[in-house]
């Protein structure tokens, strides 16, 4: 088990380094000058040169790369070109919006999708199964930003139950903050729930046909007890796999959903950084997202070993 974990960790670090190199050098190649963008069309040459020095753009490329990598250990990730504050400061607050939003979306997804998928499998062929399959088809087809606008229209504008967007901050109270994240989390959760429900359904169906399930029923366990105690646990492996990959789409979806609900999160930060060519922010947020995804996949790998003891030998 230990060797398993260590080899996975090694792979994680190597991938992160490769990602950092690609992110850094690729961004530097794109045309466009941050200093010019900040000073506009009326600027004089000497002002431009002065700003370039201030931004550190006069130093050689490889040196800047190494300084950035070194910064991961000291916590100094560089200064944002546009905002002129340390990137670590800039990322801190949006993280407190996007991470809870993502977690909230996952909780909603799991709470909806797992039971629905399991029940659809249990009552296969019956009305419930058809209904769940239909719902998941619709959920897959609807783009999450469209759903977000729909939710706003119904619940904010027409019913007035929620603000149209914005985030009051965790200091405004736990429930206030959660309320602001509810509609966005629902918009993110919908397509995820649709996918997870389908995967759960087919995974459970497969396991329901397995020998040990039939043995449990033969032993005298009720259908429900069999489902929840034995079948579901074994069906989790494909479900966990898919959830791991869906996490990526969750982060990507947050860019759009945060824009619709004007949430000051990571998605918005990187979107703005891209349009303003704030390379420092872009590469750091890219690394953060890449890191989160790799950690997530790492955890998924570890969870396999936990769920299925046979895998620990590898």
């Amino acid at each position: 088990m230990v060797r398993f974990v260590i080899s996975r960790l090694f792979g994680l670090v190597a991938t992160l380094f490769a990602t950092a190199a690609v992110a850094f050098f690729l961004l530097e190649v794109i045309p466009g000058d941050p200093a010019l963008d900040m000073l506009g069309t009326e600027v004089r040459e000497d002002t431009l040169a002065a700003l370039r020095v201030q931004l550190g753009l006069d130093r050689p490329l490889w040196l800047r790369f190494l300084q950035w990598i070194g910064g991961f250990f000291t916590g100094d990730l560089g200064m944002s070109y546009r905002y002129r504050v340390p990137v670590s400061e800039l990322i801190a607050d949006p993280l407190r919006v996007t991470l809870p939003l993502g977690l909230f979306a996952i909780v909603i997804t799991v709470a909806i999708a797992l039971p629905l998928g399991a029940l659809a499998a249990r009552y296969r062929g019956k009305a419930l199964d058809v209904f769940v399959t239909l719902l998941s088809q619709i959920g897959l087809a609807i783009p999450n930003f469209w759903f977000a606008v729909l939710l706003t229209l119904v619940f904010s504008i027409n019913l007035g139950w929620f603000a149209a967007g914005g985030f009051p901050g965790w200091s405004a109270g736990f429930f206030e903050a959660l309320k602001a994240l509810l509609l966005p989390a629902l918009s993110l959760a919908l397509p995820q729930a649709a996918i997870i429900a389908r995967v759960t359904r087919s995974a459970v169906l497969e396991v329901l046909d397995a020998d040990f399930a039939r043995t449990a029923r033969a032993k005298g366990l009720t259908r429900n007890a069999t489902l929840w105690k034995h079948v579901l646990r074994n069906a989790m492996i494909p479900v966990v796999t898919v959830m791991g990959t869906q996490f990526t789409f969750l982060l990507a979806g947050s860019i759009i959903v945060e824009n619709v609900f004007y949430l000051p999160g990571l998605g918005r930060l990187i979107f703005q950084a891209i349009t303003q060519r704030d390379l420092v922010v872009i590469r750091n947020v890219v690394m953060l997202i890449a890191g989160l995804i790799m950690v997530m996949n790492f955890l998924v790998d570890i969870s396999y070993a936990i769920l299925n003891p046979r895998l620990r030998q590898r």
């Binding site: 000058d33 900040m38 201030q54 619709v260 004007y262 000051p264």
Partner: protein
């Protein structure tokens, strides 16, 4: 059983959320205002960045200059009580107001004014408008309330330029951190900035002038146009001075809770052509392109018809404006004839570069269709802002592009050597020189009209329409600017109706 406990907790949480959701939103107290803006400023110091988003928050609200520019586009004395100009036009004596303090209590004196101006024009300055300070020769402070600025040669727009956001007054102790914590002399002081979300100002009780009508001002940052509409309708925001979806204005016009105020900006939307490159070096080709432009169609498609068609590089709201839209009117046959005369009867292929603003992209698509009608095949390419600046503006590596030039009083840019369009007519340069040196308003007006006419005939770019300022705000608000002669949200005269 453990399951039911969890279920109870979950139900309780849902109930709590439902209850708090059902509680009515706090009624808007009548002395605060929430404005929506679509672009978050990079920071809050206008004297070190060109972005209009900075000015839209701090100009006249937090920071002031010796002069300020009003809603009519004219400069008026602000921190200077009065200004005397010497007969030769080279020396300006500013008598400064007394008893003015910065938000941290620092007194404003002639020394502070000299510091601010020297900071803007100094060798290490990163002020985007450093050009404006070039005419200054020396700055003297003969008394604590007197500032004497001597120019190298007369500059008729000097006072106007001192009203620009590049020329705001800052204090030595707080100038370096003005980006994060702006400390000015204006009627509002900076409270906090929750990045990505909002900027909060509150009334400065020791302001030298008329007390502000709002105790608190909040700028909400909402880039997405649909979200802006939602924010207005739910009352999250009281005003959107520039609402991003002009095609939705009719919804607000029909709603008695709102007023729709459409005004003028300083933004001319134009179709620049690279005059250095074939075939645009031939004036007949440029004229043909302009005659293929159906200004009404472009205006309708890009800004829902709220713009004003223009014939030259000058805003229709300005008193010196000449309506030259008739010089090269929309005429497909004449356009084709001119192209044939220039030897391009079968048309040609060209690249049309579009910056990513909604109005440029929409205009670009319509223009492509219009050009096709005269046999010109235009391939569209969308560039991000910084890329447009580098490649089109700095390197002049382009054929055609669409852009809104939003700097006020910028008709003289065509006289610059390195102007990206490559328009180098000496007669125009002579006019521009005349303009900068003359002090007589009648002569100014004559020169401006002559410059407009020259551009309308030479068409280094096709002149399409003036960008509208599409403002939507609560019908209970008054005193917000209708037009945008400079980029600003001056709240000094705004208030809730009694």
């Amino acid at each position: 059983m453990a399951g039911s406990k969890m279920l109870n907790a979950a139900l309780l949480a849902l109930l709590a959320m439902a209850v708090s959701a059902a509680m009515p939103a706090l009624a808007q107290t009548k002395d605060t205002i929430t404005l929506g803006v679509s672009v978050e400023p990079p920071h809050l110091d206008p004297s070190s960045h060109v972005a209009g988003s900075i000015r839209e928050v701090v100009y006249a609200n937090v920071f002031e200059g010796l002069m300020l520019i009003g809603s009519d586009g004219k400069e008026y004395p602000a921190l200077a009580e009065k200004v005397d100009m010497s007969p030769n036009g080279k020396t300006y004596t500013f008598t400064l107001r007394k008893g003015v303090t910065f938000h941290d209590g620092t007194p404003f004196t002639s020394a502070t004014a000299k510091f601010s101006l020297d900071r803007a024009r100094g060798p290490n300055s990163v002020n985007a408008g450093k050009r404006l300070f070039e005419p200054i020769d020396t700055i003297d402070t003969p008394a604590v309330d007197r500032l004497v600025v001597t120019l190298k040669q007369p500059a008729s727009s000097f006072l106007y330029n001192m009203g620009s956001a590049d020329a705001i007054m800052v204090a030595p102790a707080t100038a370096d951190n003005a980006k994060q914590v702006p400390v000015g002399t204006g009627p509002f002081k900076f409270d906090r900035w929750a990045r990505g979300d909002r900027i909060e100002l509150s009334r400065y009780e020791k302001y030298w002038g008329k007390r502000a009508n709002f105790s608190k001002v909040t700028f909400r940052i909402i880039p997405d146009a649909q979200a802006q509409v939602a924010a207005l309708k739910t009352g999250d925001v009281d005003a959107f001075p520039v609402m991003g979806a002009p095609e939705l204005l009719n919804e607000f016009k029909a709603d008695p809770r709102f007023q729709v105020v459409v005004g003028q900006t300083q933004g001319e939307v134009i179709l620049p052509m690279n005059n250095r490159r074939k075939p645009f070096s031939d004036i007949r080709v440029r004229r043909a392109v302009c005659m293929a432009m159906d200004r009404k169609a472009i205006n309708d498609g890009a800004v829902a018809g709220y713009g004003t068609p223009i014939g030259s590089h000058f805003p229709p709201g300005d008193p010196d404006y000449l309506d030259l839209t008739g010089i090269l009117p929309y005429n497909v046959n004449k356009a084709k004839a001119l192209l044939a005369e220039a030897g391009l009867a079968s048309g040609f292929t060209t690249k049309l570069i579009l910056p990513p603003f909604p109005y440029t992209r929409r205009s670009g698509e319509i223009i492509q269709a219009l050009l096709a009608e005269v046999g010109i095949k235009a391939d569209l390419e969308v560039y991000q802002g910084p890329q447009w600046l580098s490649q089109v503006f700095r390197e002049a590596n382009f054929d055609m592009t669409v852009i809104g030039q939003t700097e006020p009083r910028d008709i003289d840019v065509y006289a610059r050597d390195d102007w990206y369009m490559g328009y180098g007519r000496p007669e125009f340069r002579a006019l521009a020189k005349d303009l900068s040196e003359t002090a007589s308003p009648t002569r100014r007006s004559e020169v401006l009209k002559a410059m407009q006419r020259m551009l309308a005939e030479d068409v280094p770019a096709c002149y399409l329409f003036q960008l509208p300022k599409t403002g939507v705000w609560s019908s209970k608000l008054q005193g917000l600017w209708k037009d945008s002669p400079v980029q600003a949200n001056d709240l000094t005269k705004a208030s809730w109706k009694p």
